[in-house]
């Protein structure tokens, strides 16, 4: 599995997002859920952007979703697919669609999460056709 980049992606890891990247390294897609209002959000924050409670926790997402929109960056060699995927939990995330025929990617396509090795032992969630 690769994003098509020559080297492993280097991630921006900080104290607030570190559990997310550690989860990805274990093969888990994590999103944040607020224990006060019960809503999920992405990207993960310590304070809930819906109700502002500081009672959020990482939960594992199913990893299944659907392409909301995408684009093929043609000037890159090889071209790559950037997309917003709406996962079944209801939030949309920016990602890449990998291991796919770039000419066949389409809005509404079912996809599932996969993980690309990143630097320092972390991993980056990406999606492939389901």
């Amino acid at each position: 599995m690769s994003t098509g980049q020559k080297s492993k992606p280097r991630l921006i890891v900080n104290s607030e997002n570190k559990p997310y990247w550690e989860g990805a390294a274990r093969g888990q897609l994590l999103i944040k859920k607020c224990n006060d209002c019960g809503k999920v959000h992405y990207y993960p924050r310590s304070i809930c952007p819906h109700c502002f409670a500081d009672n959020t926790a990482f939960v594992e997402a199913s990893g299944d979703g659907v392409i909301y929109s995408y684009s093929v960056t043609r000037q890159a060699k090889p071209p790559y697919v950037i997309a917003y995927v709406t996962i079944d939990e209801g939030v949309s995330m920016l990602t890449n669609i990998v291991d796919c025929d770039v000419e066949k990617v389409h809005i509404g396509q079912r996809v599932k999460v996969s993980f690309v090795e990143a630097e320092e032992g972390y991993a980056l969630p990406v999606f492939t056709p389901a």
């Binding site: 990207y43 920016l94 809005i107």
Partner: protein, 391 residues
């Protein structure tokens, strides 16, 4: 407190450079400040308010006020909303003037991305502490593929076509042919646009704005100052500003913050979209224009493709003349920030000083709209409505 009629745009200046290898960034700001003061017929000692955004070096106003030698500033503002900043600045300047905080507000923008690239300087990038960046940068997002996803989704939901988007570039090119400073002056066709290389599906090279150096400036003044000058009066009628964001993962790329900034500006001005004789619409990409026109109410949501087709945006041909300087698509996009030039051309139209081939007859009400950040995603929209003294 309404700003309607409380402030006027008394000075405008667009730097002629499109490639400023021989000028520093502060120097461009200074040449612009000089140009805009000369246009208004005022001096630097008259300036008591100064506005700049993230393109200004150092601590913005702090460094620039010293460099420019401004000695009478009593109001400063460095609001940064990307390319829309300068339209927000006009709103804030008008508010400050209405509140008595200043009476002559100078706004400057300058940039030299072309020269910087030539000199090996890396592109300006926002802070790695931005909370969204860790979750976006690894996927190799860039400004083209992010706007491309807006276009892709708009096409999916509303049946918008590449040919319809191309009409926006075609209209801009018809105007740019008359602008001696425009970077691209050749008139292009729909076929030229859709046959230009694909950059990020579905956006072709000609769906994208130019990258240029240069900049521009504005002088926003009190009614008393405006009426003491010899220039045609350009009155601020209304303004609106609005952020739009991804709301914790609730993504909808088919509309922009113009949905909120537009109605506020129209309400304050007391006018409707059908009253607008000329519109400067931020045109980083063709899709930026299409979504904005819908969101401002120039046509129904989803009908932007039909609205822009068949030359409807060409001055003298269509119902809504837009970007008569050639806009970002053909003229310039100084420092990758197009908001300033949108206000400048709208003010020229109200003054009757646009190129005669593109001047809108009896242009008494004009609109300028800016888009900062990423369309439909994480962005700042700003709308400004200007009028003649009679408006």
């Amino acid at each position: 407190m309404s700003i309607k009629g409380k402030a006027y745009i008394a000075g405008i200046y667009e730097h002629p450079s499109r490639k400023a290898l021989d000028k520093t960034l502060p120097q461009l700001h200074a040449e612009i400040a000089k140009g805009v003061l000369e246009d208004a017929g005022l001096t630097k000692d008259d300036v008591d308010g100064y506005f700049c955004a993230g393109d200004a070096p150092g601590l913005g106003p702090i460094n620039m006020i010293e460099y420019l030698g401004l000695n009478n500033v009593r109001h400063m503002d460095s609001t940064e909303t990307g390319g829309s900043s300068y339209i927000v600045h006009v709103n804030h300047a008008a508010q400050a003037i209405a509140a008595g905080h200043c009476s002559v507000a100078l706004i400057t923008l300058a940039g030299r991305p072309v020269a910087d690239a030539k000199e090996g300087k890396s592109a300006r990038f926002y802070s790695p502490d931005a909370p969204d960046l860790p979750f976006e940068m690894p996927y190799r997002f860039n400004v083209v593929n992010m706007y491309a996803m807006c276009a892709m989704r708009h096409m999916h939901e509303y049946g918008t076509t590449s040919e319809q988007l191309a009409w926006i570039k075609v209209a801009a090119s018809h105007h740019a042919q008359h602008n001696e400073h425009a970077k691209l002056r050749d008139v292009v066709t729909v076929e030229d646009v859709v046959n230009s290389p694909m950059i990020a599906d579905p956006l072709h090279r000609m769906d994208c704005c130019v990258v240029t150096d240069g900049g521009g400036g504005l002088l926003v003044v009190s009614p008393e100052v405006a009426k003491s000058l010899k220039r045609p009066l350009v009155k601020v009628l209304g303004a609106g500003e609005a952020p739009k964001h991804l709301a914790g993962g609730d993504v909808d790329l088919t509309y922009s913050g113009a949905c909120w900034s537009g109605p506020k500006a129209f309400e304050e001005a007391g006018v409707k979209p059908t009253d607008i004789k000329y519109a400067s619409i931020y045109d980083s990409f063709t899709i930026t224009v299409l979504e904005t026109l819908e969101d401002l109410g120039f046509c129904e949501k989803g009908k932007g493709g039909a609205f822009v087709s068949d030359g409807n945006l060409i001055s003298g041909v269509g119902k809504l003349p837009f970007n008569t300087d050639g806009g970002g698509l053909c003229n310039n996009h100084p420092g990758n920030r197009g908001g300033m030039t949108k206000v400048i051309e709208a003010a020229r139209q109200i003054r009757g000083e646009a190129h005669p081939k593109v001047q809108v007859p009896n242009c008494d009400i004009a609109l300028a709209h800016g888009t900062g950040g990423l369309l439909g995603a994480r962005m700042g929209s700003a709308t400004l409505i200007l009028g003649s003294e009679a408006a």
